[in-house]
């Protein structure tokens, strides 16, 4: 039975910082930035991080299935919010996946995503890899210019695969093109990385893989080499004999390079346009190289993510405020006002009691009267019922609904004022006073349609903790009929 990719999904934050703004603010120091000052890069909103983007990408992918629960979940990133609190388990609970799922965090390499995928495909084969990245770069650095924030997800398995796994190869080499030993990356000269790294390490691995699979380089239809070096993929392709037209664009003009998420993001982009029979060569570079070869199958036409890379690219909001980017990435010490000084301790025992609500966004459905409600309390909320312990857990994360009441609060502390919040009513029942995210001024009204999104609710810098909860986002869709 063939084994391979069964689905894919992606997420790119809506905010797209205009590179001309970065260049304009920093060229006084480094005039070479002017040459990079074109296009835009994705930027996480203040309430987005690796986990929240991962939830979005995984949800995008899983929407293409009906109730699919992968038995293994690999989460790849070099920028996990927690060094020791398993990020993949937070992801798993936010996705409401079964607790029996094997959850694994993979980090410390730009190859985290490709190595996870290789491990899955070489092993039992059935699972999911989510790769997500939100790298911080020093103000005015090339990384700030060229990187972006994004996440991608890929499911693997047997049976009806959309891209058959033909083989994979890996090579370990402590070639230190860059490293992150502290807060920020430190890198070496680009030309050296290209000549001694890309052009020596990648061809060696790819040539071996192609020989093993008995595939000619000229037959590759999609060649993925994640890098912020614009000319490197072309140089490597030329050396290997891969057609220039096969190179998958690194999307530096629209997203920026998304670190450990970049290989899977480009794989998702390639799968979106790939035709049956086409070969996809995926590489990942970092202290060595991973190479994976896939053949697209006829089943490709039967899979559609909820939004995909093209949908995520299109859902953009132009950002021209570089100061906001610096603030969101904690690159400048902002005055929060005295209201921002309050203690934001999370009481972990209390959190543990409410995990089903806070992370999995489970409410209740009353067995006695059928009332759907959130939060789930001991007594049913229906005034005609009030039955005790009568509610089964009921998921709200995939629900849509409408705004009942709202405001834009400029008094309360919010990292990006005004704070939008209000009462929402869910389709099929349930009501909750909750935060809104990604609201455009004038873009919200009673009756506006909404969807639910896992976001950061609050940071506790004093203790290095962050709280997550679900927020409502305005949908550009009309109310359902009836």
């Amino acid at each position: 039975m063939s084994r391979g990719i069964t689905g894919f999904g992606a997420y790119i934050p809506q905010g797209r910082l205009q590179r001309s703004e970065i260049a304009g603010a920093n060229a006084w120091f480094d005039a070479s930035l002017k040459g990079l000052g074109r296009g835009e890069r994705s930027m996480c909103n203040w309430d987005e991080d690796v986990i929240t983007m991962g939830v979005e990408a995984a949800g995008d992918c899983l929407a293409g299935f009906d109730g699919h629960a992968p038995p293994a979940l690999y989460f790849a990133s070099t920028t996990f919010p927690f060094l020791d609190r398993q990020n993949s388990v937070v992801l798993l609970e936010a996705l409401n996946l079964p607790r029996q799922t094997l959850a694994v965090d993979v980090g410390a390499s730009q190859r985290a995503g490709t190595s996870s995928l290789l491990a899955l495909l070489r092993g039992a084969g059935d699972g999911m890899v989510v790769a997500s990245e939100h790298r911080r770069a020093k103000a005015g650095s090339r990384g700030e210019m060229l990187w972006g924030d994004a996440a991608a997800a890929v499911t693997t398995g047997g049976g009806s695969v959309i891209a058959e796994f033909l083989g994979g190869q890996s090579l370990a080499a402590d070639f230190v093109d860059h490293y992150r030993g502290g807060e920020f990356d430190y890198d070496w000269e680009e030309r050296w990385i290209r000549d001694e790294g890309y052009l020596k390490i990648i061809p060696e691995v790819v040539a071996g893989l192609l020989a093993n699979c008995k595939v000619g380089a000229a037959d590759i239809a999609h060649f993925i080499l994640p890098t912020e070096q614009a000319r490197a993929p072309g140089a490597v392709a030329k050396q290997l004999g891969i057609a220039p037209g096969a190179i998958v664009d690194n999307q530096t003009a629209t997203v920026g390079v998304a670190g450990a998420a970049q290989p899977l993001l480009l794989l998702a982009a390639a799968l979106e346009s790939a035709k049956p029979g086409e070969l996809i060569l995926l590489t990942g570079f970092g202290q060595g190289c991973d190479a994976l070869l896939f053949r697209v199958t006829d089943a490709i036409g039967g899979f559609r993510p909820a939004r995909g890379v093209s949908g995520a690219l299109a859902a953009r909001r132009e950002e021209r405020n570089y100061a906001k980017f610096l603030a969101f990435n904690d690159l400048v010490e902002r005055d929060t006002g005295k209201r921002g000084e309050t203690d934001r301790q999370t009481y972990l025992s209390g959190y543990n009691r409410r995990r089903d609500l806070v992370t999995s966004f489970l409410g209740g459905k009353c067995r006695e009267c059928g009332t759907v409600q959130i939060p789930r309390e001991k007594y049913c909320v229906n005034p005609e019922c009030h039955a005790l312990d009568s509610q089964d857990p009921h998921p709200f994360a995939d629900k849509r609904g409408e705004v009942l009441t709202w405001t834009a609060d400029r008094l309360t502390f919010d990292p990006s004022p005004p704070a939008y919040f209000g009462m929402v009513r869910f389709d099929g029942g349930g009501k909750l006073m909750m935060d809104f995210t990604e609201v455009d001024e004038g873009g919200i009204e009673s009756g506006s349609r909404i969807s639910m999104h896992f976001r950061v609710r609050q940071y506790d810098p004093q203790r290095g903790f962050r709280k997550y909860f679900w927020k409502a986002k305005i949908l550009r869709e009309p109310a359902p009929a009836g």
Partner: protein, 398 residues
């Protein structure tokens, strides 16, 4: 069968401090200021007070926990003192404790005092604070104006009022209260404003602007209550008696059940019905002489007029703009300036409202005295439109 509180308890005396930014006054100073006026008005010594109820809303920040801050400040004679807190209904809650104690026969003379020291935060508005271990995990970080702005959008959606008309009516509410407050020497804000100023002020929480918000003030108010018989034996005539004391507390229906649409205060409607029954009021607009309602924000006052049955449903905008609740209107509201201008030291507000109606009923309200009032209604709302505590008290002549 319970008979209700009507005419069982009389107010022996009341006191109220000056409200405002009392930078130089401690909570104890404010309490003593109100208490001294109250003792003098009652004509008694503190030693005859047998029990006391002490209200402070955000005590952990300001006064400190327990009943001791009041017992110490007033040098009460080791009597039972009970601390109460029920958000913005705290003052009325203290009053309720004292009134019920007298009505039960447990004591003859009881004291209720509310105080709040809000201006020790270092910034405007109410203090940013925790909502509790579990609530802090998922509640929006809502400010008071943010919470009550919801009422405006809910009301607008329900009654299909356009933004500008509603905002104009909200502005009228505030202009009226500023005009009233200007005549009150104890009020925090004593400057008249124009409708244009109110309309054009920057948003605090859309559509609530600066002038839609009440004052955040320091202050204290108190009452000494007894039976009508004892009041008369102490030489009092023209007694002002308690006619109704009601409280309705949200049970989660508004916040989690679809039966509430966010356009009105469910608790106010319930408490008002009970209070009118208790006081024997059948036609509120004809029998009530004046109201002090919880105008924490202009929109709250506007919607409350409907919830108290003082305006028809969906008709408050017109009623407000027609001046029905102005000082010269059919049913004056916030004749003392209200929370808007008298100010809103949370724990004191309920008692401050009773204080104004008490003065009015005794003809002692000076420049703002209404003609021959008979029955006053006081209304407090603690919390948010989607979950709150509503208290209603009514006082009138015996």
């Amino acid at each position: 069968m319970a008979q209700g509180i009507k005419d069982k308890v009389a107010i022996l005396g009341m006191g109220c401090s000056k409200f405002g930014e009392r930078w130089d006054a401690s909570p104890a100073d404010l309490m003593v200021e109100a208490f001294e006026e109250c003792l003098a008005d009652a004509g008694i010594e503190r030693e005859v007070i047998e029990a006391a109820w002490f209200g402070a809303g955000i005590d952990a920040f300001h006064v400190g926990a327990s009943a001791m801050p009041m017992a110490i400040a007033l040098r009460l004679n080791y009597i039972p003192v009970t601390k109460v807190e029920n958000m913005c209904a705290t003052g009325t809650e203290a009053f309720r404790g004292a009134v019920y104690a007298v009505a039960s026969g447990a004591c003859d003379i009881a004291l209720a005092l509310g105080v709040e020291k809000l201006k020790d935060t270092g910034y405007g508005g109410l203090p940013q604070r925790s909502r509790g271990v579990e609530n802090d995990m998922y509640w929006p970080n809502l400010s008071a104006p943010g919470a009550f702005a919801q009422l405006a959008t809910g009301y607008r959606a329900r009654h299909r009022v356009n933004k500008r008309d509603l905002k104009r009516a909200m502005a009228h509410v505030s202009v009226k209260s500023h005009a009233n407050g200007a005549k009150n020497p104890k009020a925090h804000l004593r400057r008249e404003i124009t409708e244009q100023q109110a309309m054009e002020a920057p948003f605090v929480a859309e559509p609530i602007g600066l002038y839609d918000c009440c004052g955040v003030s320091d202050g204290s108010a108190c009452a000494i209550v007894t039976t009508p018989e004892i009041a008369r034996s102490l030489g009092k005539d023209h007694l002002v008696a308690v006619k109704a004391l009601q409280l309705a507390v949200s049970n989660g229906t508004e916040s989690s059940h679809e039966s509430w649409d966010g356009s009105y205060l469910k608790t106010t409607r319930i408490a008002a019905r009970r209070a009118y029954d208790e006081a024997g009021v059948r036609k509120p607009t004809e029998e009530i002489s004046m109201t002090e309602v919880h105008d924490c924000f202009s929109i709250t006052e506007l919607v409350t007029m409907e919830d108290l049955q003082l305006a028809g449903e969906g008709e408050a905008v017109t009623a407000v703009l027609d001046g029905e609740f102005d000082a010269e209107g059919k049913l004056p509201c916030q004749i003392d300036g209200g929370l808007k201008c008298f100010g809103h030291p949370i724990g004191a507000s309920g008692l401050r409202m009773i204080y104004e109606n008490y003065l009015q009923l005794q003809g002692r309200a000076g420049a703002r005295q209404l003609t021959n009032p008979k029955l006053g209604l006081n209304h407090n709302l603690g919390g948010f439109p989607h979950q709150n505590i509503c208290s209603i008290s009514m006082i009138g002549h015996m």
